[in-house]
Subunit: 194 residues, 2 copies
C-alpha cells in the first residue's frame, strides 16, 4: 500500500462536537469544541483544547470551572452557531434559546436541551501554543431522563454527532453498530491458536 | 426536561478507537485507546490517556515517541484484540498481521494497514490518577493513497469508526452527513435578526 505524507496535521477521526460552557463576568456562554476527549479514568477527567483568545477561556480562568455539554442531532444548528460567533459580541444563550441551569459547582453553566452535561473543575491548563489544553475533573454528570434505558445512558436516545474536518467540514450522525467491543477481538485469538 | 444525576462519569460521545503504537525494547507494540483527541492547533498536537501500568506506556517513556493510527471498519477485530491483550504477553503485530513501517522519527511504529498514521514526539506527560495523559506533537501525517480524493483525506474512503461505551461497549460506523459546519449556524443568526 502506498502512503502519502501530508506534513504535520490535526487529522483524527472521529472528533466530537462539544458545547463547552463557562460563566464570564457571571454570565453564561458556550462555544463549540471539536478538540477534546476523556483524559483520565479515576478520577474522571476530560480535556478540551481552546484557542487562547477565546471569550469562554476567560470565564474558565475566572472561575476555574467549566461544563461539557453533548448536543443531539436536533441541536446541530445551535452547535454550529456557537462555533461561529463570539460571546463577546452576542448573547448566544438568548440567540439559541438555551435554558441554562447550574449543578453542584454552582458556576459551571449547563444547557438543559443537551442530553448530557458534565460539570468540571479545572485541574490544570497547559499552554501548548495556539491553544490552551484545559484539563478538568468531572464533578457531576447530568443526563436527560428520556435518554436513559434501564437507568443507563442510551446512545440511540442521546443521538450525539461527530465533527468531521476532512475532506469538508461536516457534522455526521452515528452509524450502525459494527461489532461488540472486548469481544470481536477474540476471533484473532482463536485464529492465532489454530 | 427532567435531569438525572449519574455521579462523576467519563461519559462523552463520540470516543475514538485509536491504535497507539510505541517501540518497547526496540520492538513495536500497539494498544487501543478510546480516550484522546487533538490537543493543540499550531503546532499540531494530540493527547492520549493511557492507564499507568500499560506496556505501551513503557515504550513511550523509553523513546519519548509514539504513533496514533486510525483503523478502518475492516480492522475492527484487530483493534479490539489490541485492546484486550497485553504486548507483554503476546506479539500483537504478528497476531494481527500488521505490516509495520517507520517514518521520520525512526522509532514510532506505524501500521501500514491503517489508513492514517500520525508520528508523535512527546511534549509532556501528565500523571492525572489512574492514567497518564500523553501529549505529543504531530511531526508527520501519513495517509494511504487510496484514501485521498483530489489530494485531500476522504472520510468515506478512510472509513473510521467510533467507540461507544454506553449503554454497551460497541464499535459504530460513521453515519450520514447531517449538516455543513460553519454554515448551518447562520440560520440562527438569520432568525435572530428577524
Amino acid at each position: 500500500m502506498d502512503k502519502f505524507r501530508l506534513g504535520p496535521q490535526t487529522l483524527v477521526y472521529p472528533m466530537p462536537a462539544f458545547l463547552v460552557g463557562a460563566n464570564i463576568d457571571d454570565k453564561p456562554n458556550f462555544m463549540a469544541v471539536a478538540w477534546g476527549g476523556i483524559a483520565n479514568g479515576e478520577p474522571p477527567m476530560v480535556s478540551v483544547a481552546i484557542r487562547r483568545q477565546r471569550y469562554t477561556l476567560k470565564g474558565i480562568k475566572q472561575n476555574w470551572t467549566f461544563s461539557v455539554n453533548i448536543p443531539s442531532v436536533d441541536m446541530v444548528n445551535e452547535t454550529d452557531y456557537c462555533g461561529m460567533v463570539s460571546g463577546s459580541k452576542v448573547n448566544k444563550v438568548e440567540a439559541c434559546n438555551f435554558t441554562v441551569f447550574y449543578g453542584q459547582l454552582g458556576n459551571a453553566p449547563l444547557i438543559e436541551q443537551c442530553p448530557i452535561n458534565l460539570e468540571c473543575k479545572v485541574v490544570q491548563i497547559l499552554e501548548l501554543g495556539s491553544h490552551s489544553l484545559v484539563v478538568g475533573q468531572i464533578e457531576e454528570t447530568h443526563i436527560s431522563e428520556d435518554c436513559l434505558t434501564d437507568g443507563k445512558p442510551d446512545v440511540n436516545k442521546v443521538k450525539p454527532f461527530i465533527y468531521t474536518a476532512q475532506p469538508a467540514r461536516h457534522y455526521q450522525a452515528f452509524g450502525e453498530v459494527i461489532a461488540k467491543a472486548f469481544s470481536i477481538g477474540r476471533e484473532i485469538e482463536a485464529k492465532k491458536s489454530n
